[in-house]
Amino acid sequence: MRMIILDEEQRKEYEMPEGLSVIECLLRYDLPVRNDCAAKGNCGKCRVRTIAGNLSPETEIEREHLSKEELDQGWFLACQRAAKSDVTLRLSYGRDAGYRKTMLAEKEDALAGDPVVQRGVFSMSEPDLSDQVPDWERLLAAVGGSVSREAIPRGLLSALPELLRKEDFTVTVTTVANRLAAVTPGKSERRPFGAVCDIGTTTLAVYLVDLATGITRGAAAKTNPQVSFGTDVISRINSVSEDFSALEKMHGDIVAAIAELMAGLLEENDLSADDLFAMTVVGNTTMSHLFAKADPRRLATAPFVFCFKQGLTFRGRDFPLPMHPEGEVFLLPNVAGYVGSDTVGVMLSVDILNRSGCAIAVDLGTNGEIVLSGNGRVLACSTAAGPAFEGAKIKNGMRAGAGAIEKVRISDGEIELKIIDEAPPAGICGSGLIDAAAQMLKAGLIDASGCLLPPDTDFPLAENLRRRLRKGDQGLDEFVLAAKGEYGNDADVVISQKDIRELQLGKGAVAAGITVLLREMNITAEEVDRLFLAGAFGNYMDVRHAVMLGLFPGISVEKVEAVGNAAAYGGRLALLSREKRAAAEELAEKTEHIELSTSAAFYDIFMREMNFPG
């Protein structure tokens, strides 16, 4: 039997031995699935969705962990079922923010044809008096191709004669781009590895990639240590403006954090620093500057002229990182001050250059970066999406961790909540807020202008909803989503009128950004055939609800496709393929940046788009 895994745009087939549970098959092929309880049926984390095919019958354990609606939609627990025919599955991923960020880049694909790092075994004829070709030239002749004659690895010449003769003129040679990087005696069985580093303002993620197969071997994440200089990019830039030595410190902090994650990944995989030959780095323009130790100060004020834009190439030895000193570090290019190499990564990942038709890519975070491609042009803008999507500035907002309400349903006056790790609700995360607002809009609890019903409303409401309306702090109306004790929680979790307003600011800015780009390209939303939603948050958000709230004006649900951590995925493409690396440079050059803060149209559209579709 065959198991077909749909993962974002990819479709992969695996042979599935009879008699194995689905989770055993997934684990056998190293596919991302949570297995916290070792397939005992206790944790409910191995949720997978069937798209097609027959499985063994539903179990009691599944009914404990999944709602009826989810079971009807094809969700099941991989440890509970075996396949009865060929099946097509869609995988779900882990939960906490770091895990979200790391798992989402997992997207297996064929290795591109022109890898940056190549390793080969070469044998040379032994010299004699009729063949006096020197060792270096002898090696170059054997390796052939376009390997640079000038770039000789540091220290190689002192060791080369012995290296060649140790195994009778058979050596294993590793090249990086056109540069010979390492020579070891004899035929090596070791494979070269690489790393992708996604520097988020909040979270840093590092992925270890087998460069021979293109497969990701591991991922690790931690909080960006630069948060001690401020949680947003502007405060980090301000730190440098106040004291220039902060640049050195923040650069050192991020490199040390990358080194720590990389060292852990290498150890887990029984690898050494000398196995790591390439690393690509993506991040917003400020993060790129801090990584490269470039002066970021002019990023913060108009006219936003920053230090550099192009992709930068370093050697491994330029940083105190656990990698081969002759390896290569490639920092992807930026587009503009607030459209960075992470957005270039997103563009690479959805192959926006080679798409026909018109497509939008949106990466949602504290800033929303929006890209529109079509008619041979690529436009990009950045908009202050505000803190709402990440749960900040929301009365009971929290990050997507245990206890966060992530899904909300309101029907027939009843409220159904889905809480991460099924803990008592402690707050609400961005995807939960989107859900709550959309369901409240549908239930008539808020109107198109975003106004929440007052407690004394005469609007016809189910009693269970009416009693949840009240006046909260500062005289602001609020809606109690989970009353104290209702789900074992020790405090109320509410949606306040102000929370709705914060959401309106964020969604208005994103919707207006999209609209301004469409106008600039002179096309309508109907002409857009795809909207790629990048970022962990986009992957968890219920797209139907986002559309219901008008986040993507004029774009219908079917056109929206969540593509996970596409920035890191783009970084991985640039790690594996020289062609993709060149495409990144081309994208950065070609993309036209539209500055929204001076766009006359933006203000009016932003005001209009703050309202919900009514």
Binding site: I237, T301, P303, K498, M607, R608, M610
Partner: protein, 211 residues
């Protein structure tokens, strides 16, 4: 209540309806000043609803637009009848050097305008010299400084220092605002007034000119 339909149209932030109701009242021979007072009260109500967040920026913007249209009609009518339109004071407003955000400044321009101030909007990325030149030329009472980013807040201070260096600090009341600006910052740089939003700015401005 007098002119209830005008008031309701204003609270519905429907400028077409406001204009229609005003014209209907004027046709009946109503006193333009009395209509104007009703509209001003309605704007006050909208301000209260805004602070309770029952109304939001789009409605305030629409209300401001409606008020501007009403102002044009009523102002012309009052002039015909030789009634003076009271000017509460003259304001020069702009977004400070290095900052190009317009939304907040535009909202304040609108609310001050409709409250009866004469407002000169000098735009974005404005230097201390720009502010002072226009303020001197127009005989301004208030200079309004908008900054939306922590990186550009110091530019508000630059304007105050420039006024001091010219020895004309006492001629003007300086009002500061913007997403990241706080009362503490306003106090620190010696500004005369601060408001967290465009609606509150009207009260502060009125207080600064002694109204």
């Amino acid at each position: 209540m007098a002119f209830e339909k005008v008031r309701d149209a204003m609270l519905a932030t429907d400028s077409e309806l406001v204009v229609k109701e005003i014209n209907a009242e004027l046709a009946k021979g109503a006193d333009p000043k009395a209509i104007f007072d009703v509209l001003t009260d309605a704007m006050g109500e909208i301000g209260d609803l805004f602070s309770e967040m029952k109304m939001f920026l789009p409605e305030v913007m629409l209300a401001t637009e409606a008020m501007n249209e009403a102002f044009a009609i009523l102002g012309a009518e009052m002039q015909k009848q030789d009634q003076a339109i009271e000017n509460l004071g003259t304001v020069v407003i702009g977004t400070v050097k290095g900052d190009v955000h317009t939304v907040g400044k535009d909202m304040v321009t609108g609310t001050l305008n409709t409250a009866g101030f004469k407002v000169f909007d000098i735009g974005i990325d404005s230097s201390p010299q720009d502010f002072v030149e226009i303020a001197e030329r127009e005989g301004a009472d208030i200079i309004g400084l908008s900054a939306l980013m922590t990186a550009t807040m110091p530019s508000q201070k630059d304007v105050i220092e420039f006024l001091e260096s010219k020895g004309i600090r006492e001629k003007y009341k300086v009002l500061v605002g913007g997403g990241v600006v706080t009362q503490e910052w306003a106090d620190e740089i010696g500004a005369d007034g601060y408001s967290k939003d465009a609606v509150g700015a009207v009260d502060v401005a009125k207080r600064l000119v002694g109204r």
